[in-house]
Amino acid sequence: MNFSIEWLNALVGFILTLIIFSYLLGDNPLFRLAIHLFIGVSTGYIAAVIFQQVWLEQLIQPLFSVQGDPTARLWILLPLLLAILLLAKISPSLSGLGTPSIAILSGIAAALVIVGALQGTLIPQVQAGTAAFSPSNSPEFWLQGLIVLLGTIGTLAHFHFGADRALRQRGWIRFLGWIGLIFLGVTLGALFAALYSSTLTALIERLNALISFLMP
């Protein structure tokens, strides 16, 4: 047996996999050890990556680089200042200093999310939903479009929390809500099946890794 690094990696992976599988017996210290080990290693890895690829390569090196543009260095100071102010959130008495940094991040993120959702999801999806009913399309597209439309309307009718009581008691609204409930059930079933499929694939990969380690 060749005790290489790959073999050691496979051995550690094999042991940790068995420890994770031990959760079938219930919560146990080995399982917790594996979980803590995974969290610790991940955190350390992430910290190392951020320090190297963010702080060192995108902040410190450009700031003290001789070859860089002096004007560009000044621009680097702005995110540095905001980052330092964000650290002031640690102290309750100085937390107000970090508010500008939080405001900038929140404001930019909110603007991007709203604009992105509008132009990347809402408008394109509405266009796609109405495109099915183009006269040039075949009846198959029309049928698909009708199903999608019915499912959309039925789902919206089912979630009619904001509607008044009189409207909710109407028959056709309740019928559409019932159809929407069916679509919701099918959707949730599909999501569960997809989740099971994903998990099953991961389990197969782990079993295959164990088998590969035992029978290379």
Partner: protein, 698 residues
């Protein structure tokens, strides 16, 4: 102080006590400090002349009216004169004989003609016992003496009056009496015309004695200056003329024979023996006032006939007292003395008796020092309300129903016997074992029982076609955004695409990690590719590292990819085939490898303005969320699950992990399907088993 201190034992006695309550000694007279002394004429003071006419308005209405009935109303010149301050003493001496004669006395004309027995008795008392204080302390009854003495005085001195009037008259009778002989009432005229009413048939014997008595006071009255005829009013002259004859004949009282004196008068005759004791320089009867002095005498020795008369008179005087114009203090003493005993015993005596005597502390023995407890107000029992509700039959029915409901809620319901389900641990172990067997056996034996998929999903087919249409030396960006836990699935899905690229074109690969843990995943993918195609060289690749900033960094990278990466990576970027890439749209293909639908959606949304040729390799859990973007045309191809990867491998003709995992994957899906079906059937059976007892209970 309403008490009398005993001089023998210093015991405090009530004000009305005659003898000491402790030692029985005779108590000295006392006069309450609060009771002012009646106005008296003290030695050294000169009497003030008063005109009786000036006091005419002070007379009570009933007196004036009674006089008007029997005589002509006299002229009232007194109203034109300014009225001096009234002098009760002068009024008593001047006007009592005529003005305050009550009706009963008027009716008893004979009696009014002569001094009353009581006045005679008083006269006897004062003269016998306290001659010095007679004029000051006992004004009451003087007028009676006047009635008897005037004739004698007039006969002797020519119009002399009582001892009080003596002092008032000598000056000058400036105000002549308005009463003329014509205005006298009939009974007075009768008196003047009748020289001696005594000895008549209608006169009782005891009244005959009164005809003789006026001689006695006349002898004792000090001589006064004779008054001229001008100074004596006419009505008074009538008095002077009438008794003139009998006055001379009237013997003193003492010589009166025993036969002519009634029994009650004999008692008066015997009383003078008492003043022989040395004690009193004061009246024998101790009363708060001189008026009640007389009352005490009357209380003791008043005859029956006078008692009845006095009672009637009192009732007649009651309305006069209630008139606001006549104060109680202005009543003549003899009228007040004739009030009933109950009326006399008001105020001080009753109050004294009613007052509590202090029995403890420094105020022990004193009465009325502390305010007495006020008399409780009239007490009326508060109205009581019944607490019982008046319920209608309908309300009672509702109450019973409510009580029944509450009672039923409180009673424990028999718990329905529920068959306990199979042990979760056993079931879990059973499923685990079945699943492990179903997965392990195909992997261990590397079976190929299941056929490869003949049909390729549309999104996967589009993915393949997208790769097939790549230009030579395409520049392909792999954006890695998945967790390490899902790396086994993601690698199985990505590997067919890498094999396709590596086998068909000499693509330039760049790997950008959106997750710090994915920095090394690009190299791992290439290592996996090399393990499946060891004979083929790996394509050139560029690791752009981690893109910090999350959603904010995506537009920056889409706009200027070189500006978003680090300095080190930028240097490599500038030396790589990607140096001509200015925007995200300049990449030939952008392959988003993700297991998170939200991050994939964000990437799609933020990069849509640059219209990249976007392909997605997604975990099966995220695929349902990302398919709409494929159908909307925002994503050109998608590999969404292991079946799609197996189909891609089938198309490529290069078996990979899809083929190796397919039997196990199919067995796992089949097992899940069977377990789900078994659970569904078990649920139907248990539901039916639970519903039947409920139907039976219903």
């Amino acid at each position: 102080m309403d008490e009398i201190i005993c001089p023998q034992c210093a015991h405090s006695n009530p004000i009305d006590a005659v003898f000491c309550e402790r030692c029985g000694a005779l108590l000295p007279p006392a006069r309450p400090a609060t009771e002012p002394l009646p106005p008296t004429l003290r030695p050294g003071e000169e009497p003030v002349k008063k005109s009786t006419a000036e006091l005419e308005p002070l007379l009570p209405a009933w007196m004036r009216e009674s006089r008007q009935v029997q005589s002509e109303p006299p002229p009232a010149p007194k109203e034109e004169k300014p009225a001096p301050p009234p002098d009760p003493l002068a009024s008593l001496s001047a006007s009592e004989p005529e003005e305050e004669i009550p009706e009963w006395l008027k009716e008893l004309g004979i009696l009014s003609e002569k001094p009353s027995p009581s006045s005679e008795e008083l006269r006897f008392e004062w003269e016998e016992k306290a001659e010095e204080e007679e004029e000051t302390l006992l004004p009451e009854g003087d007028w009676l003496q006047h009635l008897g003495s005037i004739p004698s005085e007039s006969s002797a001195g020519g119009g002399a009056v009582t001892s009080r009037d003596v002092g008032a008259e000598p000056e000058a009778p400036s105000v002549p009496s308005p009463l003329a002989s014509e205005t006298f009432p009939e009974w007075l005229q009768g008196l003047s015309e009748t020289p001696s009413p005594t000895g008549q048939e209608g006169t009782p014997d005891w009244l005959k004695a009164f005809d003789k008595t006026p001689a006695t006071p006349a002898a004792e009255t000090p001589p006064v200056a004779p008054t001229g005829e001008e100074g004596v009013p006419d009505w008074l002259k009538a008095f002077a003329e009438a008794p003139e004859a009998p006055a001379a004949e009237t013997p003193p009282v003492t010589p009166t024979g025993e036969e002519s004196v009634p029994d009650w008068l004999k008692a008066f005759a015997e009383t003078p023996a008492a003043p022989a004791e040395p004690t009193p320089a004061t009246p024998a009867i101790i009363t708060p006032s001189g008026e009640e002095d007389l009352g005490a005498l009357l209380e003791m020795e008043i005859p029956d006939w006078l008692s009845s008369i006095s009672a009637e008179t009192t009732t007649a005087e009651t309305p006069a007292e209630e008139t606001p114009a006549l104060a109680s203090a202005e009543l003549p003493a003899w009228v007040q003395a004739m009030r009933p005993i109950e009326a006399i015993l008001t105020g001080e005596e009753k109050g004294t008796e009613a007052q509590e005597e202090e029995r403890e502390g420094p105020l022990a023995g004193l009465r009325g020092v502390l305010p007495a407890v006020p008399t409780p107000l009239p007490y009326s029992r508060p109205r009581t309300y019944s607490i019982r509700l008046n319920l209608t039959p309908a309300q009672q029915t509702h109450v019973q129903l409510l009580e029944q409901l509450i009672a039923e809620e409180e009673q424990p319901r028999p718990r329905r016997a529920v068959t306990p389900p199979a042990s979760p641990r056993l079931l879990r172990w059973l499923i685990t074992v079945l699943l492990l067997i179903a997965l392990f056996v195909p992997l261990f034996f590397q079976t190929r029982l299941t056929a490869m998929p003949e049909l390729v999903p549309q999104e996967t087919w589009q993915f393949i076609q997208s790769f097939n249409s790549l230009p030579p030396s395409p520049k392909i960006l792999f954006v890695l955004d998945y967790e390490v836990a899902t790396s086994g699935e993601i690698e199985a899905l990505t590997l067919p695409a890498l094999q396709h690229l590596n086998s068909t074109t000499q693509a330039n690969l760049a790997f950008l990690a959106l997750n710090p843990l994915d920095v090394s995943m690009g190299r791992r993918l290439l290592d996996l590719l090399h393990s499946t195609q060891p004979q083929m060289p790996l394509p050139p690749m560029l690791h752009l590292g981690y893109l910090p900033g999350g959603i904010s960094a995506i537009p920056l990278f889409a706009t200027t990819p070189a500006a978003a990466i680090s300095e080190t990576m930028r240097a490599e970027w500038l030396q790589s085939p990607f140096q001509k890439i200015n925007t995200l749209g300049d990449f030939d293909r952008v392959i988003l490898v993700t297991d998170n639908a939200e991050n994939a959606r964000t990437w799609i949304e933020q990069t849509s303005p640059w219209h990249p040729h976007l392909l997605i390799v997604s975990s099966a859990r995220s695929t349902p969320m990302l398919l709409p973007y494929f159908y909307a045309g925002q994503v050109q191809g998608l590999i969404g699950n292991l079946n799609a990867a197996a189909a891609y491998e089938q198309v490529n003709g290069i078996p990979a992990l899809g083929r190796a995992y397919r039997d196990a994957y199919s067995a796992g899906l089949l097992l899940a399907l069977l377990i789900g079906l078994a659970g569904f059937l078990w649920g139907l059976l248990t539901h039916r088993a639970h519903s039947q007892p409920q139907e039976k209970e219903a």
